[in-house]
Amino acid sequence: MNVHVEPAKRGDQTGGVIKIAILAVGGQGGGVVTAWLIDLAEANGYYAQSTSVPGVAQRTGATVYYVEMVPEGERAPILSLMPSPGDVDIVLAAELMEAGRAIQRGFVTPGRTTLIASSHRTYAVSEKAAPGLGILDREPVLEAAEQASLRFLAADLDTLAIKNGSVISSSLFGALAGSEALPFPRGAFEDTIRRSGKGVAASLAAFAAGHDAVRTAESAPAETAPTAAADEAVSGPEALRSAYAALLARADALPEGAAAMARRGLQKVVDFQDVAYGADYLDRVEAFAAHEITAGREGASLTEAAAKAIANAMAYDDVIRVADLKVRASRMARVKREVGAGEAELLNVTEYMHPRGEEVCGMLPARLGAAIEKRRWAFDLVDAAVNRGRRIRTDRLRGFLPLYLVSAMRPVRRRLLRHRIEVAHLEDWLATAHRLAPTNYDLAVEVLRCRRLVKGYSDTHARGLSKFDRVLSALPLLEGRPDGADWLRRLREAALVDEAGTQLDGALKTVATLDAPSVPAG
């Protein structure tokens, strides 16, 4: 049968429609931006439609809002209720990784989509919970954002909003205005905010900050990586300062590449104990520097690893150190700054502490402490007396003085049980590294780096120590292997993935089944 078929219309018929997707983390106010967009469009002669999927996903999860707008016409247009991959003009991402998610979902199209993102990070639970460094790299997302979009505009809109006493919806709206991706002047955006009627002044300030931010910086500022260059101003008695200066000179004499780390390490251990302790530290680091000459390697990575690991090991976290850190003037100033307490306000600071018998024994002279720990009944007695949660008000003398007195024990620290235990552990571990250094330099470096596994307090500390021991237990299998260092590094990384050490167990099993080093084929 003959059916009249009209020729196909040419191309996409929604060219006049502006399609905007807003990706946010639940609670960030994506709904506010959406409502503002509708108001802005309708006030400026556009027909606008918005949709969202409220519900339980909005509780801190990733959410998407969607807006379409088109100039008012003869009748109501038929618009889509959800964004489609490859068919979005503007993407607003209220967090950097949400920009990544928009790209993953195909909402960002090269040559078409203006991608406006806040460059700040709100870490996901998976990133925060890893015992080690679980934070995902921002570079791949930044790179993809540049490649996938027509324009990529990023700024830390969250910080700008907070600085102006507002929330990110305002600065994000400002960034959108600044991008000029919508056919409305800045004043129209501001009128919308004024009409909303709530916290207008702060919203407008944050709006202006967001507006200007995307117009000045066209790309996201790189995160500042930790650097060795430090502010090294030091004050104190002249005698101590000159002794410290002499130590700094020793640190500077270390092989290039290790000196900067040693300067930081030196500062840490002197701050922990005293100048003499700093000398001990340098003795230990210099002993590793001696290997560099025979190894003839560039970069002195053994000395650098030693400078770092020994400093961390020597500045262990005992009760004296915690008390010392808590009662410093600099610490009180930092707390005041962090919580934003003004001059007219008072600040009450409560410390949450839970000392156990172990901590008390560690604070006793080595022999006495060891004697108590050996006798169950005695230890239980001590533990029963102290083991409970304590809240200590350090802004009051009643709380400040006990901590001040505990920290005053610093001069006698070398005679205490905890110090003996730490030194024994340290010497044992360093001896292993020294033994390996002449024959397997890289493996020795990795052994030193394993110190990273020991951290935390009480149970966490014990778990860290056990991971440290388990990782190093593989040494006999790895010593003879040319790839031994690689394996030890892998074991260490596995140990940092999960708390229980499940990954580490798996990795250890793999190591146990390694064959003898294979002869290179050829």
Binding site: Q13, S52, V53, R241, D317
Partner: protein, 715 residues
């Protein structure tokens, strides 16, 4: 008090004929109900219907001025049973709930209501929670309409059509003595649009008039022999009347040319998606004028055989666009076409996926495939030859480089410490079988807590642990929220446990609201509610049904007490269910309530203490054990500018509400001494300030004294 207030928006409900309404779908539905002269409304919250319930609650005054009664139903079953008022009385009533979960709960009442039929218009508004953002199992309300034989309206997703569908729904219900379901998808509920309003109508009969003039008719009661008569009536009388009504009123719509080689049959709710795909293929313009004939089913049950057979006549192929499975509509159309000797090729599931949301991409690909097979001349040239090289640029693969971000407990949530305590108990007593329920507390099944094995329905957590009621060395734990408790839990879970002498532990999480659905009040809410009766303690209810071992915890943030109570419940010699009611107010709602009051108090110069928590970065070793027992959004990590430190340390940002969980957990789990609580005292008293100055002076002197004798580094 609900999470979101519509107090400002409901003012639009008062507008009269000819005025333009602009707003969200749920508001439009409410306005439509008032325009229809409804006598009573009810329902139970749950996305996407939560906001409809909030609108109704905020509009209660406007409704009572019109003589409309509002019932905040205790469950969907209660809501559906409310419609019984329309069985004998000519009153229009509407109820709403989240579907399909709510329809599951309501099924008992729904089947009875549908069997006897109604005299007054009975409308059920179901919010279809399907696809992206859905929190429930992916099923269809369509099946319920079929099995109970209630009519199903699935309007095009624009406010004008939705409002008209409410009107049509009541008329259809009355014309056929059958309840009608109006299905609105999650995005339609929240779509912002516009329509021209009509005047609100006072009910033809108010509920007071009805109850003062009792009526009954045994033929409407579901009892034999009437029940057998009802079945016959459904197919012989009500069905033909419905078909006639839908045809006469032209409820289903035709778009595009009268004839064509191919055609599309779609659910009304899919219409905008269908048009968007055609627009992108250049086959429909901005206003939906299509080159392809479309038969749009605003009524998806019953189907109108004549219309379908006529539409398919003369076409080579027809594509059915039906979201969800099983493909009830496609099967029915196939049956109709086959029996009427149709020769058209019927396509649907196959070209389109059987399961999952019909997104823009799914539609575009499906239509392209369909047209390429049956009408390639309609396609733009580049789509006709599928083997053309893909011109798209290869984009970087971000798989694994963007973190998953599942929902979780909010900042300061009082449920977090409960599960932190449970983790601590797990460390001491080993893992237990944990039966979870519906509600915010189900987030415990995700990282970082990873607690909870099953979720079997609202208020059914403890019931779902019933089979573990055996002699064993470990007891099962079941969790249920206060919402679930009052919805169904008291009888199906607690009563059931008492009767069967279950030896398990039942933990009721009481956050003063039905929190997961948006903070609506329930029986045990502590708020003053001027139109509802609140403040009924859960402990009294469980004691009332015979639980002997009951513990009330009034501050869930006390992690130590929480842990000890759980341990006691798991180890006590006492038999029978052990019920722990853990109560603290939902932080989201508490902040909403207290923040403005606090801001005002500070402004007025009143003394006010604002707590916040912090972490000493020098003391924190970057192990993140605290985060693994918390997951609080405000407890995050930060990298230090220190080459000696490899791992980021914990940090608390300015969104902290000072709930105290981190400090309590650090203390109870013996984690570390890094946490501190900083109470900022706004507008302190003069004496207080003087004391603080004096203390500060002594402390500063001690600090200076020490600093003078040692090296002090600037950083």
């Amino acid at each position: 008090m609900a999470e979101r207030s519509f107090a400002k928006e409901v003012e639009q409900l008062k507008i009269g004929a000819g005025e333009e309404f602009r707003g969200e779908g749920i508001l439009a539905i409410t306005k439509a109900l008032l325009q229809c002269g409804v006598s009573y409304v009810g329902g139970y919250q749950g996305a996407p219907i939560s906001h409809l319930m909030d609108v109704l609650a905020d509009a209660e005054e406007i409704m009572s001025d019109l003589g409309v009664h509002l019932e905040a139903s205790a469950s969907e079953a209660a809501a559906c049973a409310t419609l019984a008022a329309s069985v004998h009385y000519p009153v229009r009533g509407a109820v709403a709930w989240k579907s399909t979960v709510g329809t599951n709960v309501a099924s008992d009442a729904l089947a009875n209501l549908a069997s006897g039929g109604v005299k007054g218009g009975a409308l059920i508004i179901v919010g279809e929670d399907y696809g992206e953002g859905s929190s429930i199992m992916q099923e269809r309300s369509h099946s319920f309409a079929m099995k109970s034989q209630v009519w199903l309206i699935d309007p095009r997703p624009n406010l004008e059509t939705i409002v008209k569908s409410v009107e049509d729904g009541f008329a259809l219900s009355e014309a056929t003595n059958t309840p009608v379901m109006l299905e609105v998808r999650i995005r339609s509920c929240h779509v912002h649009g516009r329509f021209i309003a009509k005047d609100n109508q006072r009910p033809r009969m108010t509920m007071a008039e009805a109850v003062e003039n009792p009526q009954r008719d045994t033929a409407r009661i579901v009892l034999p022999p009437a029940s057998f008569m009802h079945e016959q009536e459904k197919v012989r009388a009500r069905w033909p009347k419905a078909v006639e009504f839908v045809k006469a009123r032209k409820l289903n719509e035709f778009f595009g040319p009268a004839e064509g080689k191919v055609g599309i049959i779609c659910q009304g709710g899919m219409f905008n998606g269908v048009v968007r795909a055609l627009q992108r293929l250049g086959l429909a313009d901005l206003y939906g004028r299509s080159d392809v004939p479309i038969y749009c089913l605003n009524v998806t049950y019953p189907l109108i055989k004549d219309e379908i057979v006529d539409f398919c006549a003369g076409k080579d192929a027809v594509l059915v666009v039906e979201e969800g499975q099983p493909e009830h509509i496609e099967q029915a159309i196939g049956d109709m076409l086959y029996k009427s000797g149709g020769t058209v090729k019927l396509e649907g599931k196959g070209i389109l996926p059987m399961a999952g949301e019909y997104t823009g991409t799914v539609m575009l690909n499906g239509f392209t495939d369909f047209l390429r097979t049956y009408a390639p001349e309609l396609l733009p040239p580049q789509e006709r030859s599928p083997n053309a090289p893909d011109a798209r640029i290869e984009l970087p693969d971000l798989a694994g480089k963007v973190p998953m971000r599942p929902p979780g407990f909010c900042t300061g949530c009082p449920e977090r410490p409960i599960f932190a305590a449970m983790k601590l108990v797990e460390k001491e007593l080993g893992e237990h079988h944990i039966a979870a329920d519906i509600g915010c507390h189900l987030f415990s099944s995700m990282p970082p807590f990873n607690l909870g094995a099953t979720t079997m329905g609202y208020g059914l957590g403890p019931a779902s642990a019933s089979a573990f009621n055996v002699k064993a060395k470990k007891r099962p734990i079941s969790v249920m929220g206060d919402g679930g408790f009052w919805h169904n839990g008291l009888s199906s879970s607690v009563g059931n446990a008492v009767f069967n002498q279950q030896d398990g532990v039942i933990l009721v999480v009481d956050n003063y609201y039905s929190a997961a659905t948006g903070g609506q009040d329930i029986l045990s809410s502590r708020a003053d509610n001027k139109s509802r009766s609140t403040k009924h303690p859960i402990t009294e209810a469980v004691r009332g049904v015979g639980v002997g071992w009951v513990r009330q915890i009034d501050r869930t943030y006390d992690v130590g007490k929480m842990r000890d109570t759980l341990t006691e419940a798991l180890t006590t010699d006492e038999t029978g269910p052990k019920v722990i009611v853990a109560s603290s107010e939902c932080m989201l709602n508490r902040q909403r309530r207290e923040k403005p009051l606090a801001a005002k108090a500070i402004k007025d110069g009143k003394r006010l203490v604002k707590p916040r928590f912090g972490v000493d970065e020098d003391v924190c070793t970057g192990d993140h054990a605290c985060i693994r027992l918390s997951g609080c959004p405000s407890l995050s990590v930060k990298r230090l500018d220190d080459p000696l430190r490899d791992d980021p340390v914990a940090a608390i940002d300015s969104s902290c509400v000072g709930c105290g969980n981190c400090g309590e957990v650090a203390e109870a789990a013996v984690l570390c001494p890094s946490f501190y609580q900083a109470d900022i005292v706004h507008n302190p008293r003069r004496l207080e300030t003087r004391f603080a100055r004096w203390r500060g002076g002594v402390i500063a002197w001690l600090q200076r004294r020490r600093d003078a004798r040692r090296l002090v580094f600037a950083r």
